[in-house]
Homo-oligomer: 236 residues x 2
Amino acid sequence: MLKYQEISDEIEKYIEDNELQQGDKLPILETLMTQFEASKSTITKSLDLLERKGVVYQVRGSGIFVRRHKRKGYISLFSNQGFKKELEGNHLTSEAIELEVRKPTKEAAHNLNIDLDDDVYYVKRVRYINGQTLCLEESFYNKSIVTYLNKEIISDSIFNYISEGLGLKVGFSDLYLRADKLKEEEAEYLGLQEGDPKIYVETIFHLTNGQPFDFSKISYNYEQSHFLFQATSHFL
Amino acid sequence: MLKYQEISDEIEKYIEDNELQQGDKLPILETLMTQFEASKSTITKSLDLLERKGVVYQVRGSGIFVRRHKRKGYISLFSNQGFKKELEGNHLTSEAIELEVRKPTKEAAHNLNIDLDDDVYYVKRVRYINGQTLCLEESFYNKSIVTYLNKEIISDSIFNYISEGLGLKVGFSDLYLRADKLKEEEAEYLGLQEGDPKIYVETIFHLTNGQPFDFSKISYNYEQSHFLFQATSHFL
DNA sequence: GAGTGGTCTAGACCACCCG
DNA sequence: GGGTGGTCTAGACCACTCC
């Protein structure tokens, strides 16, 4: 475990455990340096991490403060994988509808950067949150990277399996989001009416070496899908 | 201008100018160090910035590579302000519908962290992209921070005025996003039908010192609003 | 002006990729 | 094993805030 990671985690845990609120002041840099026996740069790196996670904000000449958003029940779209632990008390399950090896569509081949006669795993599933339909998901996995999948795996967390089971390292993803109307088939799976709104997301996941391995098309149930984004201007 | 900022900008410009594509390799760290006469840490910081902006990805033991997303016409929701220059050739205008000083709603007061008898600027406007309606926006500005607004300012870029004109420093924002159905009045402003989908976003903007100064409620035209998010797993 | 965070450097050492 | 990024340190100096 990296030192700055550990420190970052500890500080976050400290905030959680003591239920600190927005605006509460954390110890100053120097204190943290001695407390964690780390150099200034390392502490700074830990704090930058927390700042990007939306946990703290730093004010030059003043101090380090706790940042809290005010709403519960919102899903943070970013994370190592698709979702975040922020789902706290929420129960996430999946129902597999389809799973097979096939040739990619033109669209999938283009997004995965493979040929039309390469193999992909095609996965279709409905995901539930606390028993409610959350989304309908169609995914294409580059089979030369994700070499094996079965029903059991895709009913659980695919990304867990990919990193733990296959030892692959997920690097970055491009996520395209818009709203649209539900088609009849989608509405049926989600338990909504045709023409109802949906949030429609396409995502391309890449390994750390830049290779795309997963192209997914997801239609979200608009009643269940509340997303949170926390931005910090000087990181952009 | 900070050194790491400058270097970051120059590298980005270099990529643009030479139309480098996804996977193209950049010079190695040592080359960049001598070329920009900077230390390793500074170059690293520049590259981290670019990585978070989705411009490059770094592979340990291998090199630094260009990252490109494949789609045009998507808006990056993050930036110093509401939008990004990524709007490249796109023309963004605003039509002011309402502008007045008033008392905040309970909701606005809560989100801005002020009292019900404090003053806010209430701004309502429709924003257009290339002549099409993009969104309907209602904003509440804490008047003790944003001390003055007029029709001219709000027809242009409010955030530009806030940072340049008022000298305020925007720090971070919380953004809540979901889909819903358009109400009659909203549909009218956007030129759509009642019941059509919308992307509905509420945002709270804070100064660098953590003070919230803007609470906005925005309904996006689903036909025009395509959002792009670029995530990098190890920054979360 | 004291307190506090941010930038930048030089250099040591570690970890991963690839031929 | 050579090439290349990533982590970490100690310390100098700068910039902002707040009393």
